[in-house]
Symmetry: C2
Subunit: 204 residues, 2 copies
DNA sequence: AGTATTTTCCTAATAACATTAAGGTTTTTT
DNA sequence: AAAAAACCTTAATGTTATTAGGAAAATACT
């Protein structure tokens, strides 16, 4: 029993060690320049042993965003729960996501810089989860439109493009610049401008 | 004389043939999955001959965006010349860029999907030209602010982030979805929303 | 023209790397 | 304690980027 427990732990531990080594190395040196030897050394194994845990280098790369994004998805609904009003939800979404990125810069770096290179990204688990993350945004804009908080003719998909595009752009630059400043700089004024774009024009 | 001319032509021709082969293959199969043999076969040479024209695979990848982006930069000033008003310039910028992307989808694909992977992207020629492309946008927003066409407290850098982020997002998705629809779908309503975000609120 | 030089290209190394083969050692189960 | 399973290792194997070394063709020079 106790042995079984400790064994399972150690197995999980090894797997995690490999993932964390890969994460650090991919984020530091990029996917191409990181070798399987690098990763397995860092994790304290031989190269061959790594193949008992993962199918290969691509598989290992995929695993990192897989874990991160599905955890984000789990957290998101929790975070939006109980918040009233589309603008308030939109605000929470933005601040929440930026904080999550700031908390997991290595995961974010891999998602933003190395994932899209994968030819069949559209067929991955990650993409389907990212779409779910986005769909919450679409719901928020739809709610805003219906409640009269936002423009009556607001296209929720267009609003999402502006929102996500802006977020992603800010994050990409932050990652490229090696996270040398805070992601929250200017966030308030960015948010205000986007609200101006979406909100109902009461004065007309 | 005649020989010299034809020789220079053929030299340029070979170089171009290599670049175009690489462009097609990188865009089709991705950078990693494209081999030097693939490229040189396609261009009608041996692998080794390719190294007389380019330093290596990375160098070849870099070359493609280099050429495209610097040509874009040359064209941009021409295109904005004579257009009056910040909103009109902003509109022209958006439509111009989208058309250029639609006209050179292979270049765009390489820029958008494979370039940021490069660890020292920030130190490349391309990045410095991209920054110049962006700086025209900042100028436009600054002009709009000063002329009263846009909000008096509009931060031009923030406006640029929204504008570029939105554009890039739409383009990335279009590229990932294999250019299966028109980039100009919804462009009008996207533009209108962005204008609402930036423009002076006359009714207040 | 005829020789020297440069350009362009090729066939073979070379070396780095991902992935597999084959099997040993330790742990768990019975 | 024997059998099975889990975990790990060293030594291939095969692919691929890059170099070496030099042939063939074009160009320049006399």
């Amino acid at each position: 029993m106790a042995k079984n427990h400790s064994k399972n732990n150690s197995k999980e531990h090894t797997r995690d060690r490999i993932i964390n080594s890969a994460k650090r190395l991919f984020a530091e040196q990029g996917y191409q320049k990181t070798t399987i030897v690098d990763i397995s050394r860092q994790a304290g194994l031989s190269e061959a042993a790594l193949y008992d845990y993962f199918q290969g280098k691509e598989d290992l790369l995929q695993m990192i965003p897989d874990l991160w994004v599905s955890e984000l998805l789990r957290d998101l609904e929790e975070q939006l729960f109980g918040i009233k009003g589309a603008v308030n939800k939109m605000r929470k979404y933005l601040w929440w996501y930026m904080r999550r990125v700031e908390q997991s810069p290595l995961d974010a770096k891999i998602v933003y810089l190395f994932l899209k290179t994968n030819a069949n990204f559209l067929n991955t688990e990650v993409y389907s989860n990212v779409k779910k993350l986005y769909s919450h945004l679409v719901d928020i804009f739809e709610e805003g439109r219906k409640s009269g908080e936002m423009k009556p003719d607001l296209d929720p998909l267009v609003a999402r493009d502006i929102f996500v595009g802006t977020m992603d752009h800010i994050i990409s630059r932050w990652l490229l610049k090696d996270m040398s400043y805070s992601l929250f700089d200017n966030l308030e004024s960015i948010f205000e401008l986007m609200v101006d774009a979406f909100k109902a024009n009461n004065s007309q």
